[in-house]
């Protein structure tokens, strides 16, 4: 656990940089985390991020498959929006816990 300042706000994050308290998240924080990941967020990114937050806060487990079927983004689009490791990157930017999903 560590404290980190994003957009002038101090938040607690895990060693890997995931917010531990999702309610501390703001769009401004998302923009700064994304910058660290080398991404500039667009409306499309935010649509996915908000969808992920909604599901995680409902207690649902995220999988690439279910995100690809969400209607918010397809699998290919998800990989394009968050290149490399989409699920890990997107959840980090969304201010929710790192997913433990295998699929």
């Amino acid at each position: 656990m560590a404290e980190k300042i994003f957009a002038g706000v101090s938040v607690t994050v895990t060693d890997e940089g995931y917010l531990t308290i999702p309610s501390q998240w703001t769009k401004e924080i998302a923009i700064e985390i994304a910058k660290e990941e080398g991404l500039t967020l667009t409306d499309k990114h935010f649509a996915v991020i908000e969808y992920l937050r909604e599901r995680v806060l409902k207690g649902e487990a995220l999988t690439i498959r279910s995100i690809g079927k969400s209607g918010v983004v397809d699998t290919k689009g998800f990989y394009e929006l968050f290149p490399g490791a989409p699920l890990k990157k997107a959840t980090k930017i969304a201010g929710v816990a790192k997913p433990v999903s295998c699929v």
Partner: protein, 166 residues
């Protein structure tokens, strides 16, 4: 924190069997790699070709005979002779598939789509394709090419590559 000095950059996975468990081991590893931002290429050979053949890919089975891991639901022993009865293998396989569906593990064709959408590549072994008398059009759309093992090794070139045989 994991040691990130020498991360795995690419996995080359070879699947030579058509059992549900062998095919899914390959698919889960390939998809898992792609999810982590690791390059993944899967080479299907011998009976593993069933997993990428349009005609067979939806009909994969697990072996109910000669499979020491086979048990009844609840853990009771599964008599080998039962596994020989018509329909038992199909029933057991259907049960396995429904269990996987509950964990959001997709059917083979959709799994291949997930992997390729993430940039993973699927190949068929030229030697096995010739052996079974198959043609390019017998394979699902996700198969990138029919290649030799030599070409597969060429694709493996580079630092941080692992070759995995299921």
């Amino acid at each position: 924190m994991a040691n990130l000095d020498h991360p795995i950059k690419k996995v080359m996975i070879i699947c030579a069997k058509a059992n549900i468990e062998d095919v899914y081991a390959a698919l889960v590893m390939a998809n898992g790699a792609v999810m982590e931002g690791i390059e993944a290429k899967v080479f299907f050979t011998f009976f593993g070709l069933d997993a990428i053949t349009k005609k067979q890919m939806k009909k994969l089975h697990t072996a109910t005979v000669g499979n020491p891991g086979m048990r009844m639901p609840g853990g009771l022993p599964f008599p080998s002779i039962l596994g020989m009865l018509p329909g038992v293998e199909a029933g057991v396989s259907a049960m396995m598939k429904s269990q996987m569906e509950k964990l959001d593990i997709p059917p083979v064709d959709e799994f291949l789509e997930l992997i390729t959408a993430g940039g993973g590549e699927i190949y068929a072994c030229k030697l096995a394709v010739e052996m079974f008398g198959l043609k390019k059009e017998d394979f699902c759309e996700h198969v990138k090419d029919i290649i030799t093992i030599g070409q597969f090794y060429e694709l493996a070139a580079g630092e941080g590559t692992q070759i995995i045989f299921t």
